[in-house]
């Protein structure tokens, strides 16, 4: 029996949510029902950050603070969380240090992006990182400002001191059971068995992990669903294990959680994940969602294919394993059965003779969708390539291996000549499309040129930089 209310902390005060349809976004709920209008709608697609709020997540006796886009988040996702909005930052009429620093740095002009930026910086300071260029830009990557040119905002981030928000003393109420309102139900099972049972019962109900893609249907398409199945609280899906031979990532593990593990193991993958969306997106979005979503430009997918990762799918009849590359059948179509879920992905760890690189090319460095993404795993011994797995995104209807290029390289001496041959082969591997992210000709050229970058980086012969962002 589904519950009819959600209890949360809103700016430090207990708050009970009732009669709010589950597909309502947190942003709409804040602005219309709670009349907390400091949180703004700039795009309703999770790309501008004007709607940024901060979640306090119970973690080891305290609260971990994470910035999220309230426009992409369904209200029931707030269960078990403390929600802080810009109205909750100042205490007793005194500006929070972040706000004070922003005022002193002249960090607002029109002011519309400002509350979201204050919240992003509040979460940044709560995270306890050193305020350096790299961390500050990372923290601000999800927030657009069209007036200031950011310099004063970055200055404010450097000078602000960490301090708690106005009121965060009360305990966060535990997340309740499923929630229903307005003939719509938000299912939030806790176990894999319960999740599978729901899949069997409601195969048409959308699966929601972080909601950073599905949330667009709520936010922009204004779609309502009779039932939504959240996998975020299924314990088995939240596992993240680094084994001797492989890394297993549960389907509900967020990018934020997976980031340090993948960063430590696979060169370039940390940077790649840091370029997926923004912190706001990565705090909700999951690698399982990236796989299930099956976009040809899903950023992690070429990596998973090149690394020969295995998917664990689970249905009423148990688990089945499948190479990630076989999962993608056609444009956004997968081999997932209607009663199945993605349970986890298992990624082999790198052997000492394996070289891995991944490169993403987009118009903007941060928070942009790839034009082309390449991922490469080469096994090189004594200068000879014994195995090559190369996968690209943005080059076909699905993320796909460059099999002809792989064949050319396998068994070849890792040399400029081999790269030249692979370049020629790769032209036959793909027939990319023209669209607003890039033209077909460009995609093809970059796919080939990235092999040159790979060669330069892996042979160590070049002292010169191989990318403008390394400068």
């Amino acid at each position: 029996m589904a519950g009819r209310s959600i209890r949360i902390l809103l700016n430090g005060e207990p708050c009970e949510i009732r009669d709010v349809p589950p597909a309502t976004t947190v942003l709409d709920w804040l602005r219309t029902e709670k009349r907390l209008t400091g949180t703004k709608e700039g795009c309703a697609e999770g790309d501008c950050g004007a709607c940024t709020v901060v979640l306090g997540i119970p973690d080891g006796g305290g609260l971990r603070h994470e910035a999220v886009n309230s426009c992409l988040m369904a209200v029931p996702q707030l269960a078990g969380r403390a929600l802080v909005t810009v109205e909750g930052l100042a205490a007793n009429g005194r500006l929070h240090p972040v706000q004070r620093a922003m005022v002193e740095a002249d960090a607002s002009q029109c002011g519309f992006c400002t509350p979201g930026i204050a919240m992003a910086l509040y979460a940044f300071l709560e995270g306890g990182e050193e305020p350096e260029d790299e961390t500050i830009h990372d923290a601000l990557a999800g927030n657009l400002c069209r007036c200031t040119g950011y310099r004063p905002i970055v200055d404010a981030a450097r000078r602000a001191e960490r301090a708690p928000a106005a009121a965060s003393a009360a305990p966060v109420p535990e997340a309740g059971p499923d929630y229903e309102a307005g003939a719509q139900t938000f299912f939030a099972p806790r176990t894999l068995d319960a999740l599978i049972a729901l899949r069997v019962e409601r195969p048409d109900a959308p699966i929601l992990a972080g909601g950073t893609d599905l949330g667009l249907l709520f936010s922009k398409e204004r779609r309502a669903f009779d039932a939504i199945v959240s996998v975020a609280r299924v314990e088995e899906l939240c596992r993240l294990e680094v084994g001797d031979d492989e890394i297993e990532i549960g389907a509900a593990v967020t990018y934020t959680r997976a980031l340090p593990v993948l960063d430590a193991e696979y060169p370039g993958m940390g940077e790649l994940i840091r370029r997926i969306g923004s912190r706001q997106i990565r705090n909700l979005g999951t690698i399982g969602g990236n796989i299930g979503n099956a976009s040809p430009i899903g950023d992690t997918l070429p990596c998973l294919i090149a690394l020969d990762a295995t998917l664990m799918l689970r249905g009423p009849d148990g688990a089945r394993l499948m190479p990630v590359e076989d999962f993608f059948l056609d444009y956004r179509r997968t081999d997932l059965h209607p009663d199945e879920v993605i349970e986890a992905v298992r990624i082999p760890r790198l052997a000492p003779d394996e070289v891995f690189r991944t490169y993403k090319v987009s118009k903007r460095y941060d928070q942009d969708i790839s034009a082309v993404i390449g991922a490469y795993r080469l096994t090189v011994a004594d200068g000879l390539v014994s195995d090559a797995r190369i996968a690209y995104g943005g080059m076909a209807a699905t993320p796909k291996r460059a099999r002809r290029a792989e064949r050319v390289l396998t068994g070849a001496v890792w040399s400029e000549a081999a790269v030249a041959a692979a370049r020629r082969a790769i032209a036959d591997d793909f027939e990319p499309i023209d669209d607003f992210r890039a033209g077909a000709r460009y995609r093809a050229a970059v796919a080939a040129n990235l092999l040159d970058r790979l060669y330069l980086e892996t042979t160590g012969g070049a002292d010169a930089p191989t990318g403008v962002f390394a400068l």
Binding site: V103, V361, R453, P465
Partner: protein, 768 residues
């Protein structure tokens, strides 16, 4: 008794008046206003076709949806369906023909936004598709224009080019740009008694909204009051475009008899409303061995879109800035505003100036590459100087030229020559990542090209407690106009800034205003407010002189007090005394820019009161394998005259530069083959983020450079000019590409220099 030191006045970096409200979320934008019960929300039904005859519109199903209070089409507009700012025939709802994909054909009001949206989808339109014109090239071929071509001539360019020792010719273009103000277009219309309408509009131009609403409702201007407290960004996008949104809201408020709000969702905002004009250029120049230009012929073709809107003015400013800082003894500039079946383009910070400068800066580089000499040498050979090298192609004498001084100071400060050598040395050993460095000087004309727009009004009240109410025709869009004008009044009365309250711009308080545009906000409104304050001050001076028994000339306002020698009264005491003496403490002020004139037919005159100067040196890196690029450093020196508020001006310079950097690098508007804009949200249209700002970013305001012309406290306008400083980024990227062929080849690389375009240029420059 002496007063406390003044906490106000001009030439100091006072903070934005709303800064604390911004950071706490308490600053109220239109969509944040407490809803009046019964307020209707509006959604638009738009054309999916770029060009189609509307055979019929059936609104029955939409009207039948529960919650819907009104559905209107062109046929339901009570007044005149036309809000054209310059010409006529520019409807708010398509009338008989839809002229771009996204053209509003109907609007629905309902109890909530989702219902209005569902109803809008039920509006059934029967279209007959017509043959659209989708590109500038096509429009030129078919001579499809929104207005007569504009021609500017000085000397005989054709003869000069023919006689010159060297000639170049070429074709280039530049992209458009979406404003991407964070607050989308929004207006709330609230019916009043009689047939009056109160309109809250996110507009830079309250008076034009007033006129547009009055026309569409068929009521006199005095029946419409337009108010705007603040905008969440505008950048030119809320000049004429805001009128469309407000007029539709007013028509639906009238039709439903209830308050009605139209807030465009981001996709609709980007698809339905206009942007910066993209341009196509064809140029030909003749020059001598030193690069000195003898003659220059340029064809400018702008994508005006479906209607004229402000396009002819944008084109006028483009032609007036195709000289940038250079003397062109023989010029022939032709401007074509192309009618295309795409959204009507509009004002955007720079207003044609950036596009005009693209082509001259390109020509300078083309000349340098052709002669095999340095770009700076070509610039030096052509800078404006003493007579006769000081007359623009439009006949204005450049009488305040400081460009070489700005360039010299900046070059020295930024160590331009040394760094140019460092860049070259870096490139020697770096085959993949290439650096480039370039400078651009800027001369930007200040004043509206249309003489009548160069006027402003203000209203000042002094209350008996010494507090001041200030109102003027300028609007606050984040640029800090309110604090600047308040500083002017603070300076006049010598009272603290916090004693002055600036109230929302309202057509009921200050009438017949101009748009807050053309960088003119503080020039015009500051002067009008000063006029009003001085009128009151003169009266208070009389009262104080009588009180102290001295001549008015001996009365002095300082430090929140009014002095006669050593004796003094607090400002508020004199205010109260004035009231007791029945002396008015309220005044209107007015200002019109002197000495300007313009003949739009011959395109000659003195359109600008003065020029603002600046220069920027940018250093970039490109990746020759992917075309990815990044700005590594920018050094800016900007002429603000004697700045009214250096903190605010710094924000305008930095923000303008970064916005311009977006225009010349990553911001790409992409239409598909059916004329549909496919980059209509931040997920597809990329504006700069914090990491894109140059890691070394040295921005300075030119010191000791009061405006020689009598502007408000000798300051200069700063809103638009810095945007064009970002052309240095584009030129630096070109320089980096050019380095791959030893700077000997000239290749096409139009802004925006996206990775894709940079890689194409790299391939071209390396081609055998």
């Amino acid at each position: 008794m002496t007063g406390s030191a003044l906490k106000g006045g001009v030439h100091r970096g006072w903070r934005h008046d709303s800064a604390e409200k911004h950071v706490t979320g308490r600053a109220v934008y239109i969509d944040d206003m407490p809803p009046v019960p019964g307020t209707q929300e509006i959604w638009l039904a738009t054309s999916p076709h770029p060009y189609a005859r509307i055979l019929s519109i059936d609104c029955a199903a939409a009207r039948a949806l529960p919650g819907v209070s009104a559905v209107v089409t062109a046929a339901d507009i009570p007044g005149v369906n036309d809000i054209a700012p310059i010409f006529s025939g520019e409807p708010i709802l398509a009338d008989g023909v839809a002229e771009y994909a996204g053209h509003p054909v109907a609007a629905v009001a309902a109890s909530d936004r989702d219902t209005a949206r569902r109803a809008a989808a039920l509006v059934a339109v029967d279209y007959e598709e017509l043959d659209p014109v989708l590109s500038i090239e096509e429009a030129l071929e078919r001579e499809s224009y929104v207005a007569k071509p504009q021609v500017m001539k000085r000397g005989d360019a054709t003869a000069a080019i023919a006689a010159a020792p060297h000639r170049i010719s070429g074709e280039a273009g530049c992209g458009g740009q979406d404003h991407f103000y964070l607050e989308g277009q929004v207006a709330l219309a609230v019916p009043q008694e009689d047939s009056d309408m109160l309109v809250y509009s996110s507009t830079q131009h309250p008076t034009e909204v007033q006129h547009g609403v009055a026309h569409t409702l068929g009521v006199p201007a005095n029946a419409v009051t337009v108010e705007v407290r603040r905008m969440g960004g505008a950048f030119g996008g809320k000049e004429s475009q805001a009128t469309i949104v407000a007029a539709i809201a007013a028509v639906l408020a009238r039709a439903s008899g209830r308050p009605a709000k139209l807030r465009l969702a981001r996709d609709d905002d980007m698809i339905v409303t206009g942007k910066r004009h993209d341009f196509l250029f064809r140029y030909e120049a003749g020059f001598d061995d030193t690069g000195r230009i003898a003659g220059l012929d340029i064809l400018f073709a702008a994508r005006a879109g479906n209607v004229a809107d402000l396009s002819t003015s944008v084109m006028g400013r483009a032609l007036c800035h195709a000289d940038n800082c250079y003397d062109i003894p023989n010029a022939h500039f032709r401007g074509y505003c192309c009618k295309t079946n795409t959204v009507s383009n509009t004002a955007f910070r720079g207003f044609g100036g950036p596009q005009g400068m693209v082509v001259i800066e390109l020509a300078i580089e083309h000349i340098a590459r052709t002669l095999g000499i340095g770009v700076e040498a070509v610039r030096r050979a052509n800078y404006y100087g003493e007579a006769p090298r000081n007359v623009t192609p439009y006949g204005q004498v450049v009488d305040d030229n400081i460009v070489e001084q700005v360039v010299d100071r900046l070059s020295e400060r930024a160590e331009y020559e040394a760094r140019r050598r460092e860049v070259a040395a870096f490139n020697e050993t770096s085959p993949v990542v290439r650096k480039g460095i370039a400078m651009v000087p800027i001369k930007f004309g200040i004043s509206f090209n249309v003489k009548s727009l160069n006027q402003a009004g203000a209203l000042v009240h002094v209350y008996t407690d010494g507090s001041v109410h200030l109102n003027h025709g300028g609007t606050e869009m984040g640029q800090g106009l309110y604090v600047k004008v308040a500083q002017v009044v603070s300076e006049a009365f010598q009272i603290d800034l916090d004693r002055i309250k600036v109230s929302a711009a309202s057509t009921g308080k200050v009438p017949n205003t101009s748009a807050t545009a053309a960088s003119s906000g503080s020039d015009l409104n500051g002067m009008a407010a000063l006029d009003a304050a001085n009128r009151i001050k003169e009266r208070m001076t009389g009262v104080a002189a009588d009180h102290f028994g001295v001549e008015p000339a001996e009365i002095r306002f300082a430090d929140n007090r009014v002095y006669a020698g050593n004796r003094s009264l607090a400002f508020e005491e004199v205010a109260k005394m004035s009231w007791a003496e029945r002396v008015s403490l309220s005044a209107t002020g007015f200002y019109r820019t002197p000495d300007i004139h313009w003949d739009p037919v011959t395109m000659q005159g003195r359109p600008f009161f003065y020029y603002a100067y600046g220069a920027c040196i940018a250093e970039v890196a490109i990746d020759a394998l992917t075309g990815e690029n990044r700005v590594l450093r920018a050094d800016i020196l900007e002429d603000c005259g004697t700045s009214l508020n250096p903190a605010i001006d710094l924000g305008q310079i930095e923000g303008g530069f970064v916005q311009g950097m977006g225009w010349v690098t990553m911001e790409e508007l992409w239409w598909d083959g059916e004329g549909r804009l496919r980059t209509h949200g931040p997920s597809t249209y990329k504006i700069p983020g914090s990491r894109d700002v140059p890691p070394v970013f040295n921005v300075h305001i030119l010191e000791d450079s009061p405006n020689p012309h009598p502007t408000i406290f000798r300051s200069k306008a700063v809103g638009e000019p810095p945007l064009m400083l970002a052309l240095s980024v584009w030129l630096a990227i070109r320089d980096a590409v050019s380095s791959l062929a030893g700077h000997r080849r000239f290749v096409r690389l139009d802004p925006p220099a996206t990775p894709e375009r940079v890689l194409a240029a790299v391939e071209e420059v390396r081609a055998p």
